[in-house]
Amino acid sequence: MDMTKIENLDHLKSTHKSQSVRKYFVRLKNDLIRDRYLYLLLLPVLVWYVVFKYKPMWGLQIAFQDFSPYKGIAGSSWVGLEHFQKFLGSTYFFRTLKNTLIINLYGIVFGFPAPIILSLMLNEVKNKSYKKTIQTITYLPHFISIVVVAGMVTNFLSPNTGLVNMIIEHLGGEKIYFLTKKEYFRTIFISMNIWKETGFGAVVYIAALSGIDLQLYEAAIIDGANKWKQLIHITLPGIMPTIVTMLILKIGNLLTVGYEAIILLYQPSTYETADVISTYVYRSGIAEGRYDMATAVGLFNAVIALVLVYAANTVSKKYLESGLW
């Protein structure tokens, strides 16, 4: 008696389950039919992501292979972590990691405050058309291609006919071939970036500044606060969240360098201070055809970069109560 009851119950349960499974599929089918155009729109995008973003990720396995383009991924033999060990043991590892970090840190120390200072200065301009003119001028280099900017740098610094050396000579100094001297590379690169991106970088801070309540300033003036005190007690605290967010973003991208610009400016005599991880990947992979080794180095860089970005986002969530995305 009991047994049949239980069997009945089980039977009931399973029919109930299969019914709900069936219901689920019916609903799924209805939803898919109802939203067919939405899926139709998504399809090319998803196919594109598979073919151009995820398929290369599948190709990352050559980092663990003795890869031969003729044999392909399937035909090449596995070598485990050999390429990683080789890279970590080579002089390139220390040199490229050091340069990547130093160039980024210099970029933060010298480049990060520049747009903040510019936005603070612009914020004090009362004449609207003057403010707008300066803004328009300083945004401009952001829109000029890095090839043109690097080309101008190369030509201005050229030893014989470059503007800078002509001025040095006029002043009675000795001509310097700046771009072949490793001690000048980072200065040149960072200066170029500051010139190119400070104006546009200020946009975010100008937006933040415009959000500060003007009544705060009026109250401060009544209390007798001078410009400096207003800056310390109202303006800076007002844009601090933006500053912190931007700084965390920068730190998250500590391993990402504008290698496209470095490739345009560096040369063998400046590799010692200019060669970063990405430029090394480009040189050994594209130029020398050592695909497996270059992929391993790139993967090493990408994984650490991912960890850094993730950490930056976690920090941002914890202290700013909002993630970076």
């Binding site: 990352l60 080309g151 937006a207 490739i263 970076l324």
Partner: protein
Amino acid sequence: MKTSNTEKIFYAINYFLLFLVGMVTLYPFIYVLSASVSSPDAVITGKVLLLPKDITWGAYKKVLSQNEIWTAYGNTFYYTLIGTAVNILFTICGAYPLAKKRLRAKSFISFFIVFTMWFDAGIIPFYLNIKDLHLLDTRMAIILGFACQAFYIILLRNFFEAIPDALEESGRCDGANDLQILIKIYLPLAKPALATIALFYAVERWNGYFWAMVLLKDDKKIPLQVLLKKLIVEANVSDEYATMANISTAYSKETIIYATIFISIIPMLIVYPYIQKYFVKGVMVGAVKG
């Protein structure tokens, strides 16, 4: 409100410093322009510092008589126009469905797309993939290889999400399907956002050089930026350009390089004043939710 004397001095110094910042930003452009229309002799002897000396259009005449630069210019226009159109198409196709709450697997698909912002396979696997697809040295590699960016899909999705559902429902009452609702209701409303995103894509297309340099070998297909790299950065002048480097009263290697630089940035200088406000808007939107 009265301004005290110290404040007056403060404002004056601030105005002056900003003037200097503006000059430092503009000076390279002014110099390039002045040098490009000056006589080679004046440029080499350092007589040109701000204004042109002994004005001559020789360098421009010479540069514009070269086929290379016209081909590269045409290619850049092609990559920018077609490329941006493809970018916008893919971005809309990705953004609109993801803005619909009822879409199944919405969060999974979003993650699938956004993940590529955090983790990229890198230079070599991307290159080998293009090679596998037999797209190396084809225009399609540039057009299709960079057909969309996750960041802009998310940006546009956020914009679409902010459009009230009531509009969609009213369209549905009129018997419109999802495609018609997208085209007739959402896209017209999203025009400002679409313009901003299209301009971001277009400027990137116009200025992009790295992948064009890596993926294209044929001189007939290279865009302006790759030609510029050869001419002005490497100074690795081709035979045709090399003959131009001969000393002449009308042009020299330097004035030709400066003329080439200026010719290449003219389109940007023309459209820049009109498009910059869209970029400022775009940065604000991006800053709200990056």
